[in-house]
């Protein structure tokens, strides 16, 4: 398949792995611990597991699977709000597929659908707007979720609804921003990371500039990476090269998709429709200042939070969960007390077990519970 197979070429992977090994061999570094590289984006986590990239890397590189899965980091209280909206008889609740299974404190959207709520899976917010057009007597609420990657399409849909004068359409806005979250991780006292793989599709929208502080103030290198397995290997190689040469920069491996300046049209729509929230609650990470957006007053009639009363309750993460420590790379998923026992993809307790992009779910599904434990036991022995 064109534009796909080229980026999964095994021979090129071998060349990159050898180059990575050569760099590691000559690098000056603390040999008592592995180099820890965080891939911020859940899409990267998924690719890493899907293609078995982690197992191909030398043992002295450890990938830490970051917070970039919007489905995972959504707090239970927000899911409860979704269900409260979906339970209103006049509402058609439209959502992306993988948000269906996220557990709230009472139930998930999948269960709400089984209980009679009109929950529809859509592939784009425009599909939800089409539902509103087709059902003028109903209220269509769209579950707006995701980082800057999906934020513009929701904003453009609101603008489109305004142009068409569609009044029975609203967004339940849970969009979040990646930069404050990276900053929160960098500020955490137990941080050990040596560098970042930057989120390629977020960067396609926001460009490289918002990451400059990571290199300048926190002295950590970042390479904005694509999502095919060769992209990931090449980005790791670029990151090691920076570390080896004592550089600390924001580099872009994914220039074929993510232009340095981002996407001006998308950014304009985002600025027009949203404003920053003072803070937003993240599952596993707690409240992070300015990490979420809400719909501006000018578009308030498209805001499901204003249109419908939502309980807006804060529900604490289960105490046994160690998602925060996994997210920061302090522990590996299988080192969590409840991983694979009380917390499984079927009955997720923690954020990272919820979606296939979550680090724990990915380990559970593609890496296996047992492998993690065996390795842990072998290294302890």
């Amino acid at each position: 398949m064109k534009y796909v197979d080229e980026f999964r070429d095994r021979a090129k992977a071998d060349v990159l792995i050898k180059a990575i090994e050569r760099l590691l061999a000559r690098m000056k570094r603390d040999e008592t611990r592995p180099l820890q590289i965080m891939e911020v984006c859940g899409g990267h986590t998924h690719s890493i597991f899907r293609y078995g990239v982690e197992g191909m890397l030398p043992k002295s590189i450890e990938l830490v699977h970051g917070p970039g899965c919007p489905v995972c980091v959504l707090p239970m209280g927000r899911v409860d709000d979704c269900i409260a909206i979906a339970e209103r008889p006049e509402v058609i609740f439209a959502t992306f597929g993988d948000a269906m299974r996220v557990p709230g404190s009472r139930k998930s959207l999948l269960q709400a659908k089984a209980d009679g709520c009109d929950v529809r899976m859509v592939y784009s917010p425009m599909d939800a707007l089409a539902l509103a057009r087709q059902n003028p007597a109903r209220e269509v609420a769209f579950f707006g979720i995701g980082f800057e990657t999906t934020m513009p399409s929701t904003a453009l849909t609101v603008l489109q609804a305004e142009r068409e004068g569609i009044e029975n359409f609203s967004i339940f806005c849970n969009h979040i921003t990646i930069v404050p979250t990276i900053k929160a991780i960098l500020d955490s006292p137990d941080l050990r990371l040596d560098g970042f793989l930057g989120p390629g599709h977020v960067s396609m929208v926001i460009g490289d500039a918002p990451y400059e502080f990571i290199a300048r103030y926190y002295r950590k290198p970042m390479v904005v990476a694509g999502f095919e397995p060769l992209d990931i290997l090449q980005s790791i190689w670029m990151l090691l090269k920076q570390i080896d040469e004592g550089r600390c920069e924001i580099e872009n491996q994914y220039a074929r998709v993510a232009p340095a300046g981002g996407n001006a049209v998308a950014l304009k729509a985002v600025a027009q429709v949203y404003e920053l929230r003072e803070f937003f609650e993240w599952r596993g990470l707690g409240s992070i200042d300015h990490s979420g957006v809400k719909i501006r007053d000018a578009y308030g009639r498209f805001d499901a939070e204003r249109k419908f009363e939502v309980p807006n309750a804060r529900i604490a993460d289960p105490k046994s969960c160690q998602c925060g420590e996994v997210l920061k790379g302090v522990i590996k998923p299988w080192q969590c007390k409840v991983f694979g026992r009380a917390c499984t993809p079927e009955t997720p307790l923690g954020a990272l077990m919820v979606s296939s992009e979550g680090a724990c779910a990915a380990y559970y599904q593609y890496g296996g519970v047992k492998r993690g434990r065996d390795e842990a036991e072998a290294s302890a022995a």
Binding site: M1, Y51, E54, T149, P229, T344
Partner: protein
């Protein structure tokens, strides 16, 4: 054939209204007319014709094919009823025929129970019944008994069909997942995931049109060729819901062995690959309705592939992996990229990823 056949005892009824109503399920003349017009006409065979409460099958007649009866049932609720490459009727026959055939049985007789929602066009029902009849003929089976119920609007989604099938297993044919041994080959008879992708595409929720047809087909002929060429085949299963990933996990679990497949050897249509790439789905979990996974001993694997490739439903048959001594129950895949990953059971339904 030593079957008692009765002449039809009355002239056939005919439906003169355009849609099914509750009257067609009332047990009276309207129901008889519907059954006569739609089903008896299409399925036409002497065992069904008397319309008794049961079909009676001569045991001696069955015994000529083997020494064990195989018996299975399956319900079909596919949405949409008609999809590229098939419809619910074709699916209802293929599904049950294949469930018999993968057990090494020669499929012989089917029952057909239909639950219809009031308001369904009679012509649609005729079309589905016609499709069942044509597929049954193709599969060499007879639909010999049945039932029709009509339910209120909203009580079912247009039409549900349950088929039960009876077949006979030839003496000496012994198949079971527990019979797999390290070194055995894992085979499939062709391109995977077509049915699942065709159905998802046909539903239209994904706003993605892909030229993919369901692989829905009766496999008794292909399986007979396979068993002739590889008589010591250990086990077969049709990877329907849950796809080959699920079947491989079931085999690994039952045999307490490991299985490793090779992504590069796994036959996939480019359209299905593209469909999965865009939607964030894994083709290993997509349903198939005209495929088998077979486990064959190493010395018969090549012959099994050749035999399948010689059959129209097996042109792209391939060895996709091997059974291995290793962690019991574990299925892994060597990826195209050179890595290795676990292929686990699916937790729920596959849901498209956001980004």
């Amino acid at each position: 054939m030593n079957m008692i056949s009765f002449p039809p005892r009355r002239s056939r009824g005919k439906v003169h209204v355009p849609t099914v109503t509750l009257a067609h399920g009332g047990g009276g003349k309207a129901m008889k007319d519907l059954i006569d017009d739609v089903f008896v006409g299409a399925f036409d065979n002497p065992l069904l014709a008397p319309l008794d409460d049961q079909a009676r099958i001569d045991l001696l007649d069955l015994a000529q094919y083997g020494d064990r009866l195989a018996f299975t049932t399956d319900s079909f609720v596919v949405d949409p009823l008609i999809f590229p490459g098939g419809d619910i009727g074709k699916l209802a026959v293929c599904g049950t025929v294949n469930d018999l055939a993968v057990g090494g049985a020669l499929p012989l007789y089917l029952s057909c129970a239909v639950i219809v929602e009031e308001g369904v066009p009679i012509d649609l029902l005729r079309q589905i019944a016609g499709s069942m009849a044509a597929t049954a003929k193709d599969a060499g089976v007879k639909i010999v008994t049945g039932d029709t119920k009509v339910v209120n609007k909203g009580a079912c989604d247009q039409m549900f069909i349950t088929t039960t099938g009876v077949g006979v297993v030839a003496a000496g044919v012994e198949l079971g997942a527990h019979r797999a041994r390290p070194g055995d080959a894992v085979l499939v008879n062709g391109l995977l995931g077509d049915h699942g992708a065709a159905i998802l595409g046909a539903r239209g929720d994904m706003a993605l049109r892909a030229p993919i047809e369901s692989d829905c087909a009766p496999l008794q002929g292909l399986i007979a060729r396979l068993l002739e060429a590889a008589p010591n085949t250990r086990f077969m299963r049709d990877p329907t819901r849950g796809g080959i990933a699920t079947v491989l996990n079931e085999i690994a679990e039952a045999s307490q062995l490991a299985i490793e497949i090779d992504e590069a050897a796994t036959p996939l249509r480019d359209e299905v690959r593209g469909f999965c790439e865009i939607l964030g789905l894994d083709p290993l979990y997509l349903a198939n309705e005209g495929k088998i996974v077979a486990i064959a001993p190493p010395d018969e694997a090549a012959a099994a592939v050749d035999a399948m490739r010689a059959h129209p439903l097996g042109r792209q048959a391939a060895i996709i992996g091997h059974v291995m001594a290793g962690e019991p129950g574990r299925v892994a895949m060597r990826t195209i990229f050179g890595g290795r990953r676990i292929v686990d059971m699916l937790v729920g339904e596959q849901l498209p990823r956001i980004c």
